[in-house]
């Protein structure tokens, strides 16, 4: 399976693994701790600070590595929440049909009709910006997208003969959702998973950039951009480095997701086979 991996997927996987490695082993890799001041503000690259220093003289590389941890953890948790919630409720709506489906789908429509960022800002200005609140807010808002996809796929699958056969056997809803429908809905959902994770990273970065995301002294990549944005005026590239990290993560995860999707649909036992 790995031998026939395309080059793009290989690059994507390499970068993704690198980012994950940074996130997991941050305290061991980072040359300094998160909040340690090592020099003057916006010092250029040097042997002490490989990527220079930030607006108050902390090591940018160390903050970037710790930032990877925060960004990836929150985005991953939010995506997992969005997925569990969205796909289970979406398939459930398709299986139940009738008024239950109507109620859930209209509720989701309602949530989606409010611009996500504004809605999130609204909630976060009332609630404390802790990691748990961020994860829940992002997860619930994102789950609406997953819900719609899962429901659309499941409605098609729900009328297939093999689901009817399970129903005639007397199977309960749990079996039908998790054993009959979910395995067949997995391919489009996994493609969506990669995409959703990236949106979560971008969303979190936007929130942090606006000051309502991760709070100082902790920092994710979005807050790093925020802290250093004034440097651009003086020709200091400190804000561009975390921005580039966001872009690199987004592209590499997508490359991997594309490849997994292709593998999934090609697998034996697929409906296309």
């Amino acid at each position: 399976m790995l031998r026939h991996m395309p080059v793009t997927a290989m690059i994507g996987l390499l970068l993704t693994v690198l980012f994950l490695f940074c996130a997991v082993f941050a305290p061991w890799i980072a040359p300094y701790s998160m909040a340690e001041v090592v020099g003057n503000p916006w010092e250029p690259r040097s042997a002490e600070a490989l990527l220079g220093t930030d607006n108050i003289g902390r090591d940018l590389l160390s903050r970037l590595i710790y930032g990877a941890r925060t960004t990836i953890t929150i985005a991953a948790l939010a995506t997992i929440l969005a997925f569990s919630l969205g796909s289970v409720l979406g398939i459930l709506a398709a299986v139940l049909g009738g008024w239950a489906d109507q109620l859930m789908s209209r509720g989701v429509d309602l949530l989606m009709s409010i611009p996500t960022l504004i809605f999130a800002l609204l909630i976060l200005s009332v609630m404390p910006s802790t990691i748990a609140v961020l994860v829940v807010v992002m997860g619930v808002l994102d789950s609406t997208r997953v819900y719609r996809l899962a429901r659309a796929v499941a409605v098609d699958l729900n009328v297939q003969d093999f689901v009817e056969a399970a129903r005639l056997r007397g199977e309960g809803r749990t079996w039908i959702i998790f054993r009959e429908i979910l395995p067949n809905a997995l391919a489009p959902l996994i493609a969506e998973l990669g995409l959703r994770f990236i949106f979560a990273v971008l969303f979190l970065s936007s929130l942090s950039f606006l000051g309502l995301g991760v709070q100082p002294p902790d920092a994710d990549w979005g807050s790093l951009v925020r802290e250093n944005r004034q440097g651009i005026v003086f020709g200091v590239p400190a804000a561009l480095i975390p921005a580039a990290a966001i872009a690199a993560l987004a592209i590499s995860v997508n490359l991997v997701a594309d490849w997994i999707l292709k593998q999934k649909t090609d697998l034996k036992g697929g409906r296309s086979g």
Binding site: H4, D161, F162, R179, G269
Partner: protein
């Protein structure tokens, strides 16, 4: 050369397979095919699915579906080798000298255009006639093909006419440009028997009147025997036998052809009915709101004896599948009730007890969508064992393998996925899944109609044997009367939601017939030359007699 319209020599056709995770490799689909067709003759190409009959059939149009390539030999149409022609000469050939009639006319017509525009399109494109002349010719063809209101038929859109009419319109499309050769690719396979007979007769007459040559591709030997002058039997891309129609039907030389000819000759002695296991009493059912429109089932009553088979016969739209939905509880009826094994079954599926569900199993027409593609055969057959009997682990596995043996498949199938099985094997797995529940009644909904005749025969034999061994009753829904004769103990003939004839097999299949049963019975193609003419002349006589 001039008298041979079509001359194919040493035809070889290959395709490239690209299985995931493996290097792409070439496979030979068709090899060593030689045939020649004089003007005005009809050649039948026959074989089961995968025999390469459509691939060969399409080759005179220089066309290969989905990456199929003609890699060897020559195809001479009107004396020139079309494999040497360029793209523009090829375009001049298609639709002018060689025309094609597809299996599913409903899918081959563009729903957004009127029938007339599509019928005369090729003729106009090739500049063979003015619009006025072409339309006049199309109307003539509509009349010849027995389409209703031929002057205005072409003004309709494809969805406004029936499937049989559309198939005839497609034949008119092919004939309109006065081609030399028409390729018919299973033109009647998707139609009801009664419609099939009309379309077949229309095609035959049109071929005779216009003097066109034709390649007639089908898997049904009885059908091709009615229209073809000669028949070529194909298997695995190679020729098995080629000869005059009469010789192939009456005196087949090869063992494979003999099997094809003797297909559908299964017989069993019908048992007489006893105390019924399932009684359907006065069922009326409809889709949508109660009391609105015509019911799909109108006061239907039938009964099934344990260990016996009730066949429900009718054309599409007669309500036979709806009857199955009512019995299984998927569609609660408006009126009437169902007695099963001495108790009244609840109308809706949700209210029924697990035991009722277990004793009443179902087998579907399309085996490949009736199984979850992500489950292994072991899970598919094992789940009912676990669900109804609590069998798990090693015990479950042993029982699954036992069931696999009963359906004549080996234990190696345990780990396979549905996509790794052939059509016949899939249907066998579905039978094993039903059998795993140890039911008293199995509803078989058109279980053989998607299969090749030889494979279908095997399934029928298996069902008969299992009935003998397990004393299970079948409710056998089908539109194919040959299957009914083979398997039924009693028969119910349905027409527009009502049971028009009901009784033991011998009663139902013996005269005097009612009009509908008579029509249905006389429409089943028989495996002999000249059946079509006889059937029609008999109908004409009857009509005059009335």
């Amino acid at each position: 050369m001039a008298d041979q319209l079509l001359d194919i020599r040493n035809l070889k056709i290959e395709a490239t397979l690209r299985p995931p995770g493996e290097k792409p490799h070439d496979v030979t689909i068709v090899e060593d095919i030689n045939l020649s067709l004089p003007r005005g003759r009809v050649l039948g190409l026959i074989g089961e699915s995968g025999a390469g009959k459509s691939t060969i059939g399409l080759s005179p149009a220089g066309y290969g579906r989905g990456g199929v390539r003609i890699t060897g030999g020559e195809i001479n149409v009107n004396g020139r080798n079309i494999l040497e022609l360029g793209a523009s000469s090829m375009r001049a050939l298609r639709g002018k000298e060689v025309c094609y009639v597809a299996q599913s006319a409903a899918a081959a017509f563009n729903p957004a255009h009127r029938i007339m525009d599509q019928v005369i399109e090729a003729t106009l494109w090739h500049g063979l006639a003015s619009r006025k002349q072409a339309e006049k010719r199309a109307v003539e063809l509509f009349r010849k093909l027995g389409l209703p209101d031929p002057e205005h038929f072409g003004e309709r859109y494809p969805h406004q006419v029936s499937g049989g009419q559309l198939q005839r319109a497609m034949t008119a499309m092919a004939l309109c440009s006065e081609p030399d050769l028409i390729i018919f690719d299973e033109p009647t396979t998707a139609l009801d028997v009664t419609t099939q007979m009309d379309v077949l007769a229309a095609i035959k007459e049109a071929i005779r009147d216009t003097g066109v040559s034709a390649l007639y591709i089908t898997h049904d030997l009885a059908v091709v025997a009615q229209v073809a002058d000669e028949i070529m039997v194909l298997r695995h891309g190679k020729m098995v036998e080629h000869g005059e129609t009469r010789q192939i039907i009456e005196n087949p030389q090869q063992e494979y052809t003999q099997r094809l000819v003797s297909v559908r000759s299964i017989d069993h002695t019908a048992k007489s009915p006893g105390e019924p296991i399932l009684t359907v009493n006065g069922i009326t059912a409809r889709y949508g709101k109660a009391g609105i429109g015509k019911p799909v089932l109108d006061d239907v009553s039938v009964a099934i004896t344990p260990g016996q088979t009730l066949a429900v016969v009718g054309e599409s739209g007669s309500g036979k599948s709806t009857l199955a939905r009512v019995i299984t509880g998927l569609l609660p009826p408006e009126k009437g009730n169902i007695q099963f094994d001495g108790r009244t079954l609840k109308a809706a599926l949700k209210q029924r007890k697990k035991e009722d569900l277990r004793q009443l199993q179902m087998i579907y027409q399309m085996a490949d969508v009736a199984m979850n593609p992500r489950h292994t055969v072991g899970t598919i057959i094992g789940r009912p064992l676990e669900f109804y009997f609590g069998l798990r682990g090693r015990k479950q596995r042993a029982r699954v393998i036992e069931l696999l043996e009963q359906i004549e498949l080996g234990p190696e199938f345990h780990e396979r996925y549905p996509a790794e099985l052939s059509g016949g094997q899939k249907q066998r797995i579905c039978i094993a899944r039903a059998l795993a529940a140890d039911p008293k009644l199995i509803i078989c909904d058109e279980v053989t109609s998607a299969l090749d005749p030889l494979v279908a025969d095997g399934i029928l034999k298996l069902l008969l044997r299992l009935q003998e061994e397990h004393r299970v009753a079948y409710l056998f829904i089908t539109h194919d009367l040959a299957t009914v004769k083979a398997i039924a103990d009693s028969i119910a003939v349905m027409y527009q939601g009502q049971v028009v004839r009901y009784g033991t097999r011998d009663e139902v299949l013996a005269p005097p017939f009612d009009d509908y049963t008579d029509l249905l019975l006389s429409s089943v193609p028989q495996m002999r030359v000249g059946w079509l003419e006889e059937a029609f002349s008999q109908r004409r006589m009857e009509a005059q007699g009335n």
